[in-house]
Symmetry: C2
């Protein structure tokens, strides 16, 4: 049986944390006298009260959380955060419709960054900061999940490439989770602080610097400006954003190594090399294509290409140019970037390089296997042999991802949207990117969708964010029958 | 080293066969006095002369054809057939442009059925019959390949599901190939003859009956009429076509069992069951959707749904209705059918049910594996355990197929076509279907494409027809380095 009380206790703790994380917004709200003070204080108090009640009611519960409780905690965390996190939007009247508020909150916590807001700049400062904060919280949550918790649950088949060592023995699970999580949190927090300072020194207001630092490090992509990062007409801000999107897309275990000065271990990572080299090739190729299609000055074109490529590959979703305005060929290339994702163990979403790498390496090996049918042809990543079980799991993930993309697109088409918009909305939601193609291009928003479509896309964001299996396994009889 | 002379000998034999197979066209040409007699006789004589020269020059070559020669023979067979098979089109002036003639011939031999002809009915009868004959030859070729030869070469990972018994010992390969091939040929020939008789009795002219029988059994889909099967306003003809498309999409080994009265073995096939049940579900669902969108009489709507579904799933590509005219949702569903394919060991193309089944079964098992990480959870098909090597190979095939679809679509977009047309043209070429969506919908043709696009799509047809790996392995260093 499942220990529901232990789960409720964790949820209680999470709600309290959420309430505490509303305080920075309250502070900005008072500073700007933006009129949303009472709303935010009320929301924070509700979180603390409800969360506290749950937490202390079940405080005596044993900590014995097993794999199945782990799955339920992961899934329900995101649901609880979304339900409680949307209070400021609704109470303040900034987003009065519930389906809209759910969409915006899920888009925040999943670090997707798609928005139903048609005029972002109209929102009071407190709410805007809360909106950015949801992404930052979601980003932190996902790093802790993927680096510290997923390896224990065996989710997504990428656990072996994220964890530092093969796998913990069951008796030292708790201290290890805590220690790893602490390191990750420090790096995440430290980089965010550094980025606030940089953005501020480069000319943003402190408020904008803070918001954009929160949504850059989480590869979230929410902006306080309707024009997104294009609003800041400053090359140095753009290059800073590019650098930090790149870092946010790196496996945080590697960032920890970098912090410790062990740079050799970074370049030893096959995924990091694939990520870096692919970005360079994509940027050069796309910059050349953009320059060919719309000749102009070299540096701005190159910067546009670099910004858009890094933003989409890391699934951040900031934009500084309408990448669908060049040509059909370039539009489809940008569309494909929605399926990339950066590294496992980063804040980025979508498929991620480790899986692409596994597929590409295995594909070449399949030819070798055809020519030498009796030879044993193992697949190696980071110098270590990957078991057949993991290869199967990863390839199954890839196919499942594409199948959900296809089925999702069919649902959206039946709901009445044109094919390109359906493809775009589903791909960008599932990949936690933000902008897409068609009617949800880089200069559009998601306001026009029906409430059904908004809820459906929210579900896809959650599905993608939690590596599909984490959510889907809850719908299988295997999960509920197990003992 | 590779025994090129042995390969050339086989090519010689193939050319002679091609020449002989032009004689039925010559007969019709004389009967109708359609003016293409000399052209066809000339083409046949060239095939016989060139083929004979090759065959008898290398007649003394040892028959020791190994795996690598096998691959080269398979790939070059289709190229040689296309080059020699297009002579009637060019010499008669029916299709004077070489890129058009290549497209039409490759589309024929690969049983794709996409056409660059804007007015099919304008062509002389001899040429029309040759056009249908290319599909029939291609269909026969692919059954013999998949059932008798691919299992020996280990292509596509589906060999184990097609062959009757686990695998031959090397010393009795030749007699077994010959015997299996003979059975398949007899069933194929017998069913085609029966279908000529049926179509004729149901009201087609003998000429039309013959043409459509050739292109039904090969799941080719070329028609002698601009309106395709919609020209024949006869329910009984449509239902006959549906039945025989269904049979042509069945594993021919199973048809042989049926012929021998061993029906139990047919229903024991997981793939056949998946194929039959999926068709029923698709037909009912799509018929209901069509009826909902365009209310009308029940039987014609049901027949339309049935015809279109069976035609696309078996990759035949006949049409009796514009399936893109209903709604966005239904269009995308029909588009997805381009990725289905019928059974392995049939004349159909595309992905095929055995691979879909492997993916679907493995997906459910992955959840079981997550919940019970230490349990051994084997995948079984037809009651037998499928090895991890084959699962990996099949999933890799699926991903490679989708990747080629994506890369192909990018190439077509860059070549200047809109996204939907690019997706459609690539999917239908790779899947050997024929019609698609966008500007290559069921009532369109491929005439407007540039010569580059036509040659590119021809290459994709070949790639899809030969299960990707057969062609692609020739581009790898493994193949050329092996001894
Ligand atoms: K994002
Ligand atoms: K076809």
């Amino acid at each position: 049986m499942i220990h529901y009380k232990a789960i409720l206790k964790v949820m209680g703790g999470l709600m309290m944390l959420l309430g505490i994380l509303m305080f920075p917004s309250i502070a900005f709200s008072y500073y700007y006298q933006s009129g949303d003070q009472i709303t935010l204080i009320g929301s924070a108090l509700i979180c603390l009260a409800v969360g506290g009640t749950f937490f202390y009611s079940f405080a005596k519960q044993d900590q014995n959380i097993r794999k199945r409780e782990g799955y339920m905690i992961v899934a329900s965390s995101w649901v609880v955060m979304s339900v409680f996190g949307m209070m400021p939007y609704i109470f303040s009247g900034s987003i009065p419709v519930v389906s809209d508020a759910i969409f915006e909150t899920v888009s925040g916590f999943t670090t997707t960054g798609a928005s139903i807001l048609t005029d972002i700049e109209r929102l009071p400062e407190g709410i805007l900061l809360w909106r950015s904060m949801t992404q930052w919280i979601g980003g932190l949550g996902i790093i802790v999940l993927t680096v510290a918790i997923f390896p224990l649950l065996g989710i997504g088949g990428i656990e072996l490439f994220v964890a530092e060592s093969p796998g913990p023995t069951s008796d030292k699970v708790h201290p290890r989770i805590r220690e790893t999580a602490k390191r990750l949190w420090l790096i995440y927090f430290g980089l965010t602080l550094a980025l606030v300072a940089l953005y501020y020194l480069e000319g943003m207001t402190f408020f904008d610097a803070m918001n954009h630092a929160l949504t850059t490090m989480s590869t979230g992509g929410f902006s306080t400006k309707n024009a997104s990062m294009a609003y800041f007409d400053s090359p140095v801000i753009h290059y800073t954003a590019i650098l930090f999107m790149f870092l946010a897309g790196t496996n945080f275990t590697l960032l920890y190594f970098a912090f410790k000065g062990r740079f050799r271990r970074i370049w030893a990572s096959d995924e990091f090399r694939a990520y870096s080299i692919s970005l360079i090739l994509l940027i050069c190729g796309i910059a050349a294509a953009m320059y060919y299609l719309v000749p102009g000055e070299v540096e701005p074109t190159f910067r546009k290409a670099m910004f858009q490529v890094v933003s989409l590959v890391t699934t951040t979703g900031y934009v500084t140019a309408d990448y669908t305005a060049y040509s059909n060929g370039l539009t489809i290339v940008f569309f494909m970037l929605l399926f990339m994702g950066a590294c496992a163990g980063s804040t980025s979403g979508s498929i991620k390089f480790i899986r692409h790498l596994t597929f590409v390496k295995n594909s070449t090996l399949e030819f070798k296997r055809i020519v030498h049918p009796r030879a044993v042809v193992p697949l190696k990543i980071n110098g270590e042999r990957v078991t057949g079980k993991i290869i199967t799991h990863i390839m199954n993930f890839l196919l499942l991802y594409l199948m959900i993309f296809v089925l999702g697109s069919i649902v959206m088409s039946i709901a009445g949207y044109d094919l390109i918009t359906s493809f775009g909305a589903v791909a960008t939601s599932l990949g936690n990117v933000g902008p897409a193609i068609g009617r949800v291009g880089p200069v559009d928003n998601f306001a026009f969708f029906s409430p059904f479509a908004k809820l459906f896309l929210s579900f896809l964001m959650l599905l993608g964010r939690l590596e599909l299996f984490t959510i889907l396994v809850l719908f299988t009889p295997y999960f509920w029958r197990a003992n």
